[in-house]
């Protein structure tokens, strides 16, 4: 799933490890989410959104909305 996690992280000058520690997952998890290889569960997505103090949809792009835009 496409997302803005890397941008939000970069705005705060956090490394993947910094973010991983803040949301209590491994650095590999952050990397997998950022690169779209892994879609986080809803609880983890909420944790990420709450950390950045933005709604979930400002971080993660809905796959259906993304595909309809492509059309």
């Amino acid at each position: 799933m496409e997302n803005r996690l890397r941008v939000l992280r970069a705005e705060r000058a956090w490394s993947q490890q910094d973010l991983a520690e803040r949301i209590e997952v491994s650095r590999q998890s952050v990397n997998a989410i950022e690169t779209g290889k892994y879609d986080p569960s809803l609880p983890l997505a909420f944790r990420i959104a709450e950390l950045f103090e933005v709604p979930i949809e400002e971080i993660f792009v809905s796959p259906s909305r993304h595909s309809s835009k492509a059309i």
Partner: protein, 136 residues
């Protein structure tokens, strides 16, 4: 290599179970070699080395329940699915080859060995498809 709290607990359990396996195997081999085991005790002694191996399967299941990092858990689930598929596939192929008398008999406990080898296959597949592999 990724180490989580649950992963460290799994490793510790596997070390103790491996030591128990070695001890039970030595006991059974010594007992049968010297004709010391008879009747129900013989059956119990023969089964003893299997118990820690079963324990390792249980430890893997417990690890999957305890792992709080959902991505790492998913990587492990994929790895164990590869291991299970690999072990069952090789065992099935070997079974047919054996039934048509094209290969010799192999003890069925080697299926467990195949499963552990399959974890290696799963690790390689995770590395190739996800760019991440875990060893715990």
């Amino acid at each position: 290599m990724i180490r989580t709290v649950a992963g460290r607990r799994y490793n510790s359990r596997v070390v103790w179970l491996s030591l128990a396996y070695a001890a039970f195997l030595l006991f059974a081999v010594y007992g049968f070699k010297h004709h010391l085991l008879h009747g129900p005790i013989a059956y119990l002694s023969a089964v003893l080395p299997a118990l820690p191996i079963i324990g390792i399967f249980g430890a893997m299941g417990r690890y999957l329940l305890e792992e709080s990092d959902e991505y790492i858990r998913m990587v492990h689930v994929r790895q164990t699915l590869w291991a299970t598929g690999f072990a069952l596939s090789v065992a099935t192929i070997w079974g047919f080859l054996e039934s048509f008398e094209l290969v010799g008999h192999v003890e069925s406990f080697y299926i467990a060995v195949l499963w552990f080898l399959g974890l290696g296959v799963g690790s390689v597949m995770n590395r190739l498809t996800l760019g991440t592999s875990v060893d715990c």
